[in-house]
């Protein structure tokens, strides 16, 4: 089966920051959440995927093809939504649509676009400089989904938006992957969204990919416990992923398989995993 994204030894140096080498494979038909701190390299990765930036080393294959060999016609297969629209602010909905119709030619789907615009209630008389942040993102999403793309990349697209709009976005992403040839790769800080819908979580830290795992396995692997210092002493050091000591005890994230089975552990969230892992690395 053809993979949606394949990265082999991908490396990019930007000043003092080095991304990679990253090896990552995203199968078709899934939603991948790409998480990490600010400056971890998430946006750099997405820019490299879109060929807006060129790697120093390594190979990027999207939908089975090397990105260097992508022709302008093939770019319709890839869609993206950033945190801003990057369109001239004086354009109205109509201007934007005409522009994209020319950009994508035959691939452009007037009806899909009209449906999404109606679903989002976007005004057709206003120029986009009068659009709210949420409306801009909705327009970005409508544009991205209206040229038959098979891979959708979102870079912090929903950050700064209210929970209701984010919820709508989740619905749209879930609709999108009803087609098993469609794939979504989404970088986000808002991890509760990803917790609901992502199939895989890829975690990048200081330019290095720490893991990519199915969300279910990931969340079953760890547990959180509140312990006393004495209880902590008795545990296998290897079991401790990260801890938060406080005046009245210590909270720890543990690897379930390395603690006794009668140990009471609470479920973790993706946010817990990210925070405890990063803080665990600092010690």
């Amino acid at each position: 089966m053809q993979n949606a994204i394949e990265l082999r030894g991908l490396k990019k140096r930007l000043g003092n920051f080095v991304l990679g080498p990253i090896d990552l494979t995203v199968p078709r038909g899934c939603i991948v959440g790409y998480i990490g701190e600010n400056g971890a390299g998430k946006s750099t990765t997405i820019k490299l995927l879109l060929h807006l930036m060129f790697p120093d080393e390594g190979e990027i294959r999207l939908l089975g093809k090397d990105v260097q060999e992508f022709t302008p016609q093939m770019k319709k297969d890839i869609a993206y939504v950033f945190d801003d629209l990057y369109l001239p602010e004086d354009m109205t909905l109509n201007n934007v649509q005409n522009f994209h119709r020319k950009l994508y030619g035959q691939a452009w789907q007037d009806k899909t676009f009209a449906d999404l615009v109606a679903r989002f209630n976007l005004p057709d008389s206003k120029s986009i400089k009068h659009f709210s942040r949420g409306m801009k993102m909705q327009l970005g999403l409508a544009l991205a989904l209206s040229h038959g793309a098979r891979l959708l990349l979102l870079d912090e697209a929903t950050s700064g938006l209210d929970p209701v709009i984010r919820d709508d976005v989740l619905d749209i992403l879930l609709d999108y992957i009803q087609n098993e040839n469609h794939t979504v790769f989404v970088s986000s800080h808002i991890l509760s969204d990803l917790e609901k819908v992502a199939d895989y979580i890829a975690f990048i830290h200081k330019g290095q990919l720490l893991f990519m795992e199915t969300k279910d396995d990931l969340m079953n692997q760890y547990g959180i416990a509140s312990l006393s210092e004495e209880q902590l002493e008795e545990l296998d050091d290897m079991a401790i992923v990260g801890k938060r000591p406080h005046q009245f005890g210590v909270e720890v994230m543990l690897k379930r398989e390395l603690v006794p089975s009668d140990f009471e552990l609470e479920k973790v969230s993706i946010e817990d995993i990210m925070v405890y892992m990063i803080k665990g690395k600092r010690k």
């Binding site: 939603i31 819908v197 079953n220 479920k267």
Partner: protein, 128 residues
């Protein structure tokens, strides 16, 4: 068919889905040869990962509750209800033997044990 996902449950989500579909098959709510929702549609509606619903279906198939036809979907497999009941009776027997062993260790009388079953039963009914 209703499927309820409880985040507070200790059972992983795939197992919650699997068990509820299995129960619906066993109590006849889902009939033999009935087409089940696709894994993608189920994932979308329940807002869970496709991998989760796929795992639930894979396990239902492994246990003989459903069968999948490439390109057509998953269907409820014919169930041998008698055989199922027999299996459940076996399980009950094993568990009761264990309960009796523990009751003896704890020095519980027969009446106390019955009383406990009744209490738990009524609590369980409230939860449902």
């Amino acid at each position: 068919m209703n499927i309820k996902i409880k985040n507070s449950s200790n059972d992983p989500i795939y197992l919650q889905i699997k068990n509820q579909i299995r129960d619906a098959i066993l109590n006849g709510e889902l009939e033999t040869d009935e087409l089940l929702p696709s894994i993608r549609f189920l994932a979308k509606e329940l807002r869970v990962s496709v991998i989760t619903t796929k795992r639930a279906y894979d396990e239902l198939e492994k246990d003989g509750f459903i069968h999948s036809v490439q390109g057509k979907g998953s269907f409820v497999a014919p169930q041998n209800i008698e055989l199922m009941k027999e299996r459940f009776l076996k399980k009950i027997e094993t568990n009761i033997t264990e309960i009796l062993r523990y009751a003896k260790l704890a020095g519980m009388s027969h009446d106390e044990l019955i009383e406990m079953i009744k209490t738990l039963e009524s609590e369980h009914a409230e939860c449902d």
